[in-house]
């Protein structure tokens, strides 16, 4: 098991980050079932309640796709392709199964490519709706119940309401701790750097929830004990917006220029941790509401306000809060090529965040370090512009 002690939280995160999946491998060896999932829509509470380890899959930006392209089209989002390639190459050979939530076309339309190519013992496509009205909540509950049944069948164990309620509590606590860690980024300079934070976020999505909470607490304690560095009034405070960024490469490109990455609206970051599941009499109700209504991702958003401005507030209002609370000077909107859900939101996000006071650099890129030099140049130019 990962050794988490006082004073070594960051080292533990670093290890889990660099040896991604190592804890899952250990647990698998000790007899635990491991289920991989994609995207912020993976209902971790249910998997935890089922007694399996949920691990969110990530790719490797430094590794070129070498096998996956024989099965999956290059018009699929580069992040999905990269993860798939790793899976084909056996990087995730400890998985007993996978859950693909219906986040976007790149996931939905490749469901059969994944399931038939990998041939894992357990497979589930969670058909999350893209609309959030009352019939959609009722439907979301139905499909969560179907998911629960398939997991019960697979593990041979009933998933009780009590187990789900307990898992909800554990994950809410985990989210609360992560938000507290985010708070430590509000100071100038932030107590924890953007790349350290990314390693913690990535590590956290690969281990059981209690271990993740212990890790966050250890990191928090450690960074709080740091001697405060002198404030650098010139260093720009940056927010990163996008879907699954799960590597420090881009963040190092930002921070190597002297800027601080202080906040994100990423599906690996704040999107995962800002919203809790409400404890409801039927625990599935709270889970349905959190994933469908509270989680702010572009494929589960429907505006209900009467005016366009009102809709923008519903959709991106949280980013305005981040700009103010984290004193953001500029934002980088980092979107993967072929990503329709985020791609269609670019003009709206850009103008909204700029109106909130933070200039925005929009970058469309691959999920690969091969274009990092170009990205870095653009980031440097942007930081100079807002200096």
């Amino acid at each position: 098991m990962t050794d988490i002690r006082d004073g070594n939280g960051l080292a533990a995160a670093e290890k889990l980050y660099t040896q991604y999946g190592s804890r899952a491998r250990e647990l698998k060896a000790s007899g635990k079932k491991v289920i991989g999932y994609l995207s912020a829509l993976g209902p971790v509470e249910i998997m935890t309640a089922a007694g399996v380890l949920p691990i969110r899959l990530k790719g490797n930006v430094s590794e070129a796709i070498s096998k996956g392209d024989a099965y999956m089209e290059t018009i699929v989002c580069p992040f999905v392709r990269n993860v798939f390639d790793l899976a084909v190459k056996g990087k995730y050979d400890f998985l007993d199964g996978m859950v693909l939530p219906h986040q976007c076309d790149s996931i939905d339309r490749t469901n059969e490519t994944w399931s038939y190519t990998l041939g894992l013992p357990y497979w589930h496509f969670l058909n999350v709706p893209h609309v959030t009205d009352d019939p959609s909540i009722a439907f979301m509950k139905e499909i969560l119940r179907i998911f629960i049944k398939t997991l019960e069948k697979f593990t041979g164990k009933a998933i009780t309401d009590q187990a789900i309620a307990d898992a909800v509590k554990a994950h809410n606590n985990n989210r609360k701790l992560m938000r507290e860690l985010y708070d430590l980024r509000k100071s100038n300079p932030p107590l924890i750097s953007g790349s350290e934070m990314m390693k913690v976020l990535v590590a956290a999505m690969s281990i059981p929830v209690e271990e993740s909470s212990a890790l966050i607490e250890a990191v928090m304690k450690e960074v709080k004990e740091r001697k405060p560095a002198a404030a650098n009034p010139k260093a720009k405070r940056i927010m990163l917006i996008g879907d699954q960024i799960d590597d420090v490469a881009v963040i190092e490109a930002i921070e190597s220029t002297g800027a601080y990455l202080v906040m994100d609206d990423l599906s690996t970051g704040s999107k995962m941790y800002w919203q809790d599941v409400d404890a409801t009499a039927d625990p599935v109700q709270g889970i349905a509401e959190r994933y469908l209504r509270k989680l702010k991702i572009p494929t589960t958003f429907v505006g209900s306000a009467d005016t366009y401005q009102g809709i923008l507030e519903e959709r991106f209002g949280h980013m305005k809060k981040y700009v103010n609370e984290f004193k953001v000077d500029g934002a980088i909107l980092f979107i993967y090529k072929y990503c329709d859900p985020y791609g269609f939101e670019v003009p709206a996000i850009k103008s909204y965040v700029e109106a909130a006071g933070a200039p925005v650099l929009y970058l469309e890129d691959e999920y690969s370090t091969s274009s990092l030099a170009r990205v870095k140049t653009r980031i440097e130019a942007f930081l100079e512009m807002i200096a």
Binding site: D340, F344, A348
Partner: protein, 443 residues
């Protein structure tokens, strides 16, 4: 989409009526205001056709307009306009072409931009999206358009069908999906009532749905005439003759069109007239939207004795009796069942063949019924919805069925920049050689 620079000569004279349909649909959006009708930006295959028709809402089909721009090779200015406001070139080009056009129209205070293909399209009073299991742009595109037409309300509904899972019993799940789809359609009606200020005439809706069912049946009956050898019509024409079913469902004109097409195909069969003479190879167009700017490629195939008697693309209907729809007096519930079963009715067949999928079963069924020798897929780079997963379909087809010649062409629906005619023709030639070799092997 029927008119393209290269002037594909349609094989059937009925298909020559299609430009009238397309122009009619576009001009209806421009005339709607005078006629006191509301216009809805809408998407095909979204289950909302009959609701719009029964409420006299004029659909503004963005996909059709972008297809026309592409066929006229006149989309680039709109694609560039969208790109100028940071819409990536990798996004769905139906959407970005249309958004570029909308942006220009807004800059002109609502007036149609000069030189718009076929007179352009009218400004909508509402945008109807659908977060269905087909594509993300179907709801992200209206939301993105609202950035430029801020006063136009967007309504997104959601219609799903059970995902394919060989280990799940989809029959158990169908009712959940139907209930959800019907509830969502009811929400659509409420929204349309609010915008039009009119109540739904439920009897009229029921009659419209009945007409659609009849059109579905007639469409299939007509297309099945293409089983004949030599085939009287191929996919090159079907990319046109799909228009009434796809864009005018629930109208008498659509039904009448297939009456005419049916009569013409019967006549051709009686006269022994085929698309290619001689007909050497029969191919299924197994998946993919076509390159609208290169429909002439079908003639290239035809010229070499290759015909497409059947295609999966735009065959958006099925014989109603085959779907075994439960009886209901609620037209919305009927639409919901029809939608769900349209997808799931291939699931049982797929379960019987280990390793197969419903999409592949459908292809196999058509290959057998239409006596095809090979399969062509088209992979359009800007549309993940229809085109991601094609490689898997092709591989599964070979694995679970037989080793038939397969060609996967790569291009786009609208963006001509990736298209090279000489390369495409070379690939087609190589494919025909494979077909010849394969046929020889089979004796």
């Amino acid at each position: 989409m029927a008119e393209e620079k290269k002037g594909r000569a349609v094989a059937t004279s009925t298909a020559a009526k299609i430009p009238k349909f397309v122009r009619g649909n576009l001009s209806a959006t421009l005339k709607a205001k005078e006629e006191g009708k509301k216009v809805a930006a809408a998407f095909i295959a979204d289950g909302q056709d009959e609701i719009m028709r029964a409420m006299d809402i004029v659909p503004a089909w963005g996909e059709s307009f972008s297809g026309v721009c592409a066929a006229k090779r006149d989309a680039e200015k709109y694609l560039q306009k969208a790109e100028s406001d940071n819409f990536s070139r990798s996004l769905c080009t139906y959407a970005t072409c249309n958004i570029g056009f909308d942006m220009m129209r807004e800059e002109l205070g609502g007036a149609t931009p000069e030189g718009a293909p076929w007179g352009g399209m009218g400004r909508p009073d509402m945008m109807l999206g659908n977060g269905q299991l087909l594509c993300d742009p179907r709801f992200k595109w209206p939301q993105a358009t609202q950035h430029y037409q801020q006063d136009v309300p967007v309504f997104v509904t959601n219609m799903y069908y059970p995902p394919w899972d060989p280990n799940a019993d989809h029959h158990e799940q169908e009712a959940i999906y139907v209930k959800y789809a019907a509830d969502e359609l009811r929400e659509t009606v409420k929204f349309c009532e609010k915008i039009t200020g009119k109540k739904m005439d439920w009897d009229r809706l029921a009659a419209t749905v009945e007409l659609s069912d009849k059109t579905w049946d007639l469409f299939i009956d007509t297309y099945e005439l293409r089983k004949h050898i030599p085939t009287p019509m191929d996919t090159g024409d079907a990319m046109n003759t799909m228009v009434p079913l796809t864009f005018n469902l629930g109208t008498q004109e659509a039904y009448d069109f297939y009456v005419d097409l049916n009569a013409e195909l019967r006549q051709k069969i009686a006269d022994g007239v085929g698309v290619a003479n001689p007909e050497k190879y029969r191919i299924i167009w197994a998946a993919g939207l076509p390159s609208w700017f290169a429909l002439g490629d079908f003639q290239y195939f035809n010229g070499k004795g290759v015909v497409f008697p059947v295609e999966v693309t735009y065959r958006g209907c099925e014989k109603i009796e085959r779907l075994d729809l439960p009886k209901t007096n609620d037209p919305l519930e009927h639409i919901a069942w029809r939608w769900v079963r349209y997808w799931t009715h291939w699931y049982d067949a797929a379960k019987k063949r280990p390793g197969s999928t419903p999409k592949v079963e459908r292809i196999i069924e058509y290959i057998e019924d239409y006596k095809c020798d090979g399969a062509v897929f088209h992979s359009a780079f800007s549309c993940r919805s229809w085109h991601a997963g094609i490689m898997q379909q092709a591989a599964t087809l070979k694995k679970v069925y037989k080793d038939i010649p397969i060609l996967i062409m790569e291009g786009d629906i609208v963006d001509i920049s990736s298209y090279n005619e000489a390369d495409t023709h070379n690939r087609i030639d190589a494919f025909i050689e494979t077909l010849a070799a394969s046929k020889k092997r089979q004796g």
